[in-house]
Amino acid sequence: MPSLKDLRLRITSVKSTRKITSAMKMVAASKLRRAQTAAEAARPFAERMERMLGTLAGAMAGQAGAPAMLTGTGSDQVHLIVPVTADRGLCGGFNSSITRATRLLAADLLKQGKKVVIMPVGRKGREALRRDYGHLMIEGFDNLGRKGITFPEADQVATRITQMYANGEFDVCTVVYNRFVSAISQNVTRQQLIPFPVPAQSETVDASARAVYEFEPGEAEILAEILPRNLAIQLFRSMLESQASEQGARMTAMDNATRNAGDMINALAIKYNRSRQAQITKELIEIISGAEAL
């Protein structure tokens, strides 16, 4: 049976925990709003880029000389996995769902006899995956997007990937990230970046466009320029989505924590009052029985 003083201390400590979690929830909520707007604002560019790329890919279809980023290296032996996680914890299952998906993917590929290289983006993912797949890991990126992801940051990651691809260090690149659905739900998404999967509808839609579009300087030249850009854009988008998801996940987790702390405080307060009363009763009995004994 804890003493009254112990109970009082527990209550104070849970109260301050609740203050912290509710503050974190508030902060996450405001960051979420910002991250969500940023993710939405980035959509027009990605959409138009995709449309242009679809047209180009349609025009290049069946022609020789298409860049390797579109057609692949002709093999799929080495896979590069880029898990996008947060740098911080305390956001529920956000980071662990990504590492779980990455583990599954890596284990599956290894079982098929492929080689796997992991380039983590975000500190939490690196730490979680280091134990099992440390030997497959190459240096990743931490501390991106402290004040919201900017395009140059995503470009930095894209440049690394492009460079590795040019050196023939991998054949297929897949990014694993949390796609933002709402504050309470995020979807773990796997997206293949290299070779770039051409949107399926481009076959039909752009067969007509192919005839009419003029290309300046030429299809292949534009493609060679646009593909690395597109890689950066896709990464940028997945990072923005991931960041919005992170804030959403944190907000939900902290909301739950705040509620749990409240419940705990109530339970402790009841226990405290009961033991206080029990003590008073005990003292009264002692006094009365002492008086009676005389």
Partner: protein, 133 residues
């Protein structure tokens, strides 16, 4: 002329501009081209330079862009730019700064990729200087 063409300028972070205009002059890779309504469909890479927006027969807005892509259809011009800002915000200090940074990048470049990136930066800085003239 009543006919207008929808001009869209998009950067990775957001949609910068979307308005009907009479004509836009875009600095294409193979030379500047003006896009009027009913222009033939065209996709082009864009070199660093200045986009001129024409309304009522004169230039109403000038925007500096650091390269990108343009898609032209009969009713729409879409420019995907990595970086874009109004020419009025461009000062010689900014251009000089970029120039210095670009020159530094050229001397520091180790790999082919670095070199091509640095060359790009130089091209952007040069275009800024030309745009200011």
């Amino acid at each position: 002329m009543a006919e207008k063409i929808q001009f869209e300028l998009v950067s990775p972070a957001k949609l910068l501009l979307s308005e009907p205009v009479e004509m836009v002059v875009v600095p294409g890779e193979d030379g500047d081209f003006g896009a009027l309504p009913l222009h033939a469909p065209l996709i082009s890479t864009v070199r660093p330079g200045v986009i001129d927006i024409h309304n009522d027969g004169k230039v109403t807005n000038r925007i500096f862009i650091a390269g990108g892509f343009a898609e032209v259809t009969g009713e729409r011009v879409t420019v995907l730019a990595e970086e874009a800002f109004p020419l009025t915000e461009l000062t010689s200090e900014i251009a000089d700064e970029r120039r210095a940074a670009a020159d530094l990048a050229v001397t520091d470049a180790q790999t082919d990729l670095d070199r091509s990136r640095a060359a790009r930066q130089v091209a952007i800085a040069d275009a800024m200087v030309i745009a200011l003239r």
